[in-house]
Structures are given as structure tokens and as C-alpha cells.
């Protein structure tokens, strides 16, 4: 049995909690498919970690909803919020099921991955090397979409996740970037992040 932590009430708004649950569950689906199709163990582990984060957030949201309901009308509407959050939680569970294909070493036939590469954009996960030319740059100034068809969809700094970073978000050394794009661009981007490529083309 996994050890379950006690979840203590913290005052966080329903809106903030629901926003995080929705965003995380959607990010997790993308990460999980990519982990499974390209047999990426690190991505799979990120997904499993996020899954327990979403569990905690959903729990906190339930508490917050109970406190927020003042009358019948509130209860009717908030029940809908609870229902939608629990559906998003199920989506995050589904993502964890996908990640388990990798962590349990079941794997997916390489021909399937090849077939997928033709139709799907690929996701990569790369850690920012201290020597990378991207360190301390803002995402917007790199013009990644125009240069190499790459979009940074999330940044992980230790335990914190930034989803859909703003143009002004800074790339810090040691952060983990998750980016999406066509395969050539994504390879070039990974080399830039890891400090193996020292020049921005185009």
C-alpha cells in the first residue's frame, strides 16, 4: 500500500484550484502520450508525480467547495464544479495509466512509434545546462515558433510547474523545459537547451 499523506485544509480559491487541476490534467495527457510513444522514462515519472499533485488539489477543491456553499442555489452550482473537477482528475488518472506503460516496462512496439512520428508533433524534455546560450533569456525574445517551429509548453523548476509560460518568463539554468514541435526543430532546440549547440540559426 502506498503511504497517503494527510491533506490539510489551506485557503486557496476555488478558481485557482480548478484552474490548476484543469491545466495540469491537460498537460499530463500530452506528456503521457509522448512518454509512452517514445519510451521516455523521465517524462513518465513527471506524469506520475503530477498525478499525485492533482489528487491533492482535487481534495483541497472539495473542501473549499463545501465551505463555499451557503444555500441551495450555491450547492446546485458548486456540485457542477465538483463534478467537472472530478472528471479532470479522472483525466489525470488516465494520463498516469499511460505513463505506467513506460514505468512498468510494457512498452509500445517501435513500428507504432514510427507511425506516430509521421502524424504527431513530438514533445521533448530537456534540462537547461548552465552553459546554454538560452540561460537568462526570456522565452519571447527567442522567437522559437518562427525560427524552428518549437513551442515551450511547460517549465519545471524543482517542484514547481509553469504551464504555458508567458513571453516574459525567463529560462533559468537547471530548469526543465518541455517543448512541442516538428522533429527537426525539436532536436535542434534540445541541443540548444543542453548547451551542445551554441548558436541560434535563422
Amino acid at each position: 500500500m502506498p503511504r497517503l499523506e494527510r491533506i490539510e485544509y489551506k485557503p486557496i480559491s476555488v478558481r485557482k484550484l480548478f484552474l490548476d487541476i484543469k491545466n495540469l490534467s491537460e498537460l499530463m495527457i500530452d506528456l503521457a502520450y509522448s512518454a509512452a510513444l517514445f519510451n521516455d522514462k523521465e517524462l513518465a515519472e513527471d506524469v506520475l508525480e503530477l498525478e499525485s499533485r492533482v489528487d491533492t488539489l482535487t481534495y483541497l477543491l472539495e473542501m473549499e467547495i463545501m465551505i463555499a456553499a451557503r444555500d441551495v442555489e450555491d450547492a446546485e452550482k458548486l456540485a457542477g464544479v465538483s463534478k467537472v473537477a472530478s472528471a479532470a482528475d479522472k483525466i489525470s488518472d488516465a494520463a498516469a495509466d499511460i505513463a505506467a506503460i513506460v514505468t512498468k516496462k510494457i512498452g509500445i512496439h517501435p513500428i507504432v512509434s514510427e507511425g506516430f512520428e509521421k502524424v504527431e508533433e513530438r514533445l521533448i524534455r530537456a534540462k537547461v545546462n548552465e552553459d546554454s546560450i538560452l540561460v537568462n533569456k526570456q522565452i519571447g525574445e527567442l522567437d522559437l515558433a518562427a525560427r524552428m517551429g518549437v513551442d515551450v509548453i511547460a517549465i519545471r523548476r524543482n517542484k514547481d510547474w509553469i504551464i504555458d509560460p508567458e513571453d516574459t518568463t525567463q529560462i533559468e539554468s537547471g530548469a526543465i523545459l518541455i517543448a512541442r514541435g516538428a522533429s527537426a526543430g525539436i532536436r535542434e532546440f534540445k541541443e540548444l537547451v543542453e548547451g551542445k549547440l551554441r548558436k541560434l540559426e535563422g
Partner: protein, 192 residues
Amino acid sequence: MPRRHQEKFEEIVERFVELKDTSELMMDLAYSSLLLNSKELAEDVQELEEHVDKLHTDFELLVLSCGFKLEEAKGLLGLIRLGVVTEKIADAAAEIAEVVLRGIEPHRVLKLVIEEAEETVTYVQVAEDSLITNKTLRSARIPEETGMWILAIRRRGKYIRPRPHTTIESGDVLIASGYAKGEEDLKKLASP
């Protein structure tokens, strides 16, 4: 690997991509149905959920009927599990849509989170003489021209998830959301 197997694999991948795309499209539509309190969209989600059940069964039967050897079968087990997951996602999307179908106006928090603005959803059919017929979504530049965002394309009873390389065909029904004033522009663009 024998050629016959290669073809089987390609077919399996193709079916799986359809399953995956449909389940993700359902998530988009389900959240949009909440945002817009649209029963029409919510019913589309419910309908798609039944469609996914069928796709999923067909997909599993296809995999099972291939008669692969043990080593190959192992790689396929992962794919079968992925299939199960797409169905779970579809079910979750259907649950989101149910909130709308129960008839209580969704809580404002849901709307705030899904989108800050007051938006509308619209269905337009693409005419043969439209400027966007036979163009890819990327080159049609619909969001730039109209401010409307394409959620899905309905083509001959099937739903297609919009991708930049998807070609718009005459007769397609575009399901789009955006500000009310973009609706007219989109209608003009699609059926002049």
C-alpha cells in the same frame, strides 16, 4: 518483419490515432459546452462518447485478430492499454458535458477558468466557392481573419480534430468559438 505485418501495424496505428484524436476533441468540446452553456455541444460530446465506444471495440478486435507472435504481442499490449485510456478520457469528457445537460447554468468559476471572455459558438458550412475551400487550416488563417477559433470539423458525420495541415473541404461544417462579432465574418468567409 513480413510485409503483411507492416500493413497491419499501419492500420492499427491509424485506428489508434482516430481514437486518440476523438477523445481529445471531446475534451475540448466538453469544456466549450460548459463555457457556453451549450446543450448542442454537450449532446455532440455524448454522441461522440458512443462513437468512441465503437471505435475502441473495433480497434481491440483488429489488434486481437492479427495473430502476432509473443515478442510482437508485447509491443501491442501497450497499445491496447492506450486504447483503454482513450476511452477513459472520453468518459470523463462525457461527464463534463453532463453537467450542462442537467440544465443548471454552470457556476461562473467554471466559465472564468475556461475562458475570461463572453464567447459564442457557431456552426458554419463551407460552400464550394468559399475562399477557404481546399485550403489547409494554416493557410486559411481563420483566427487572424475572423477572430474565431475552430474547435472541430464535422465531415460526413465524422468529427475531425483541427490540425494546421487539415484541408478544409466544401460541405464541411466548422464548429468555431469566438466573440459574437467574429461570427458574421466567419459566415461570410465560409459561405459567401
